[in-house]
Symmetry: none
Subunit: 402 residues, 2 copies
């Protein structure tokens, strides 16, 4: 898609706003989905005059994580551009990952006589984990010429960046997980899986040993297990791929991190969706493309809280007129994946999407919902097409061929 | 697609008629599209009993030129088979391009002291351009062993074929445009971009110099700029790909030219759509596949003349019973792309398509329009699938696998 689009890109003054209602797609409980249950007059009215459809985030039947979910709607094939687990964990914990970094996600664990007896160190309290991680950061600032940046997570989890002085060779992060996956086994060795991974492997080994030395007197968290060694993926930026100056408006570090992967500006912001929209208005003159992320809808879905999820959708609906007042040339509203409260987690179901511009048919859907969007002019289509449609509706794509 | 189809092809006596209403797809003005506004009882009745849907010419959001638009509905992937600008221009000006030709589109320009001061020679009148092009043809019939065939175009435009005595190597047409794109610059050199392009480059250089010598006393058109050097694409013919003996019924040279690229017979015909249908009847016994091209719908769309476009659609509707009277085994009616009057040009929007045969569901659409076709049994699908559907409905495809 990007190869096809690139020679066709032209710039203009149009504004594209993409609102991602995280996990908005759902499934019926008592006959109606979360969207169908919620009272959302503004979204419904907008759907009636928009191009509607459902996007398939990765492929039929495939449940996407947040990484692939967002890459898809940003126009990047999530099967081609894969984000390492260490990278995603680090982004989620608010670390700013650089090109020379290798990211690792870690667990505190309990080891006894060389055998892992608890892979999660009894799920130690987050507060204790935070204290231990600060200790590691204080005591292990460098290993050889590599800087280490730690970030505490929930319970037994944390992440660490190995910041090398210069960019590494391809495959340099090919170091296996040391987590043996089952208690009663010794930890595995971070032996290099490629010649170019020797450097990272050595640093990992030293890190594991130093950490054990520092933690050896802890009752439970006396060892660390390392997983998901990974470097930044090579992804063309939004500027390179689409000639768009873009900004992410997101309060959760993970989503700012994902947006940073594709080169969006990602200022740290806090607050409610209303605060996000205020921020959108303040920055409206300075960018071409705005990614506005609404997190809480997904959170309630993950908790299996059907009514709570519906209420969060209603909350957004009340704020929608503020976005419409900006009169963006193209407004896209969709989710990165479905999170049916019924399933208490992400799912594979296609996600409702609406595209508002002067160049749509409209008039095919009576509401913004999974079932109404099946009647729309966009049909059921791969998520990566959303960006080409947004660009086309913004008149930012020239004709293909003569 | 073609690779899948080829081993399944079987011949029979069926007739397939494909009517291309150029640029038929539109967008609403005052709530209704051109198709929805026009009074087309015959098309609507046919849609009610046909398989309907919308085809995507190239990809979501991509606006096709006439070349890619037609290749797609002829069953050729427009991303795989790309038609050079020189070739398309030559076809549009009615030149018959051969396999040993390199086609170039040219502008008359004004040069002064080695600097291009007007890239379009003041848009000289077509009549003057025609006279100059005839002079070039008279004076430059050959360069070395290469025959030159000129064709005048509108205003400052013309095309020239460099007819080599034998087929050229791959990449032999890789010669850059000499148009500097901006006035105030010298013309660029037609330096070869590959080893195999040296021959073409040399001829181009001699052509440019000879033309300048002949034109040097012209007030405005004293130089030529060359663009879009290209040879014929290697496209399997309709006979090779689909085992169909095919004919194009089109009054505009461009569309006959495109049909010739895929090996259709392309007799020169003139007149109205009614004349085209008369010609269809006269030749009905002699071919398996008939491509009938209706141009004027697109022309009015390009002019932004909504009512004019709707009137041209109505005009075709009145003639449709004459085609139905032939009782073709398969009748396909669609467009090569959308040309909404609202946009005054081609657009990316999916194009309504109907396929009439004894083997369809039907009963899903109440009219032939963009919105009604979203309800059809074909859904929204890539244009290249139209040909396999046409062949299947003509019972010309065997079972795949046992």
């Amino acid at each position: 898609m990007q190869k096809l689009i690139k020679p066709l890109i032209q710039k203009n003054d149009s504004k594209i706003v993409m609102v991602v209602l995280d996990g908005v797609g759902g499934l019926p409980v008592n006959g109606k989905t979360e969207l169908e249950t919620s009272n959302i007059p503004n979204l419904d009215a907008l759907a009636r005059e928009s191009a509607c459809g459902l996007h398939v985030p990765v492929a039929f039947g495939i449940t996407p994580g947040s990484g692939p979910g967002h890459l898809g709607i940003f126009g990047y094939d999530p099967q081609e551009f894969q984000i390492g687990r260490g990278i995603l964990e680090s982004l989620g914990l608010g670390l700013e990952v650089k090109k020379t970094d290798v990211a690792v996600r870690c667990n505190y664990a309990t080891i006894k006589d060389g055998i892992i007896v608890d892979r999660r160190a009894g799920r130690i309290p987050t507060e204790q984990s935070r204290r231990l991680t600060e200790k590691l950061q204080q005591e292990i600032k460098r290993i050889d010429d590599v800087e280490l940046i730690f970030a505490p997570g929930m319970e037994h989890r944390f992440a660490v960046l190995l910041r090398f002085p210069e960019p590494l060779e391809p495959d340099a992060a090919m170091v296996p997980d040391t987590d043996p996956q089952k208690e009663g086994n010794p930890p595995l060795s971070p032996a290099p899986m490629s010649k170019s991974a020797e450097k990272v492997s050595k640093v990992a080994e030293k890190l594991i040993n130093k950490a054990h030395e520092l933690l050896k007197n802890e009752e439970k968290a006396n060892f660390i297990l390392t997983r998901g060694f990974s470097g930044l993926p090579h992804i063309p930026t939004f500027e390179e791929a689409f000639a768009l100056k873009s900004i992410a408006i997101a309060t959760y570090p993970m989503y700012r991190g994902l947006a940073r992967l594709v080169g969006m500006d990602t200022p740290s912001i806090e607050g409610s969706v209303e605060d996000e929209i205020r921020f959108l208005k303040q920055n409206y003159n300075d960018y071409d493309f705005f990614f506005l992320h609404v997190k809480k809808i997904d959170s309630y879905g993950e908790d299996g809280n059907f009514d709570g999820k519906a209420a969060r959708i209603e909350e957004f609906d009340k704020l929608l007129p503020q976005i419409l007042d900006l009169k963006p040339d193209v407004l896209v509203i969709t989710g990165d994946h479905s999170t049916p409260a019924l399933m208490k987690g992400h799912s594979w179901h296609p996600v409702p999407v609406l595209i508002k511009s002067p160049y749509v048919l409209g008039g095919l859907c009576s509401a913004f919902s999974e079932r109404e969007c099946t009647k729309g002019e966009l049909g059921i289509f791969p998520a990566i097409n959303i960006m080409s449609l947004a660009l086309a509706n913004a008149l930012r794509l020239k004709k293909f061929g003569a």
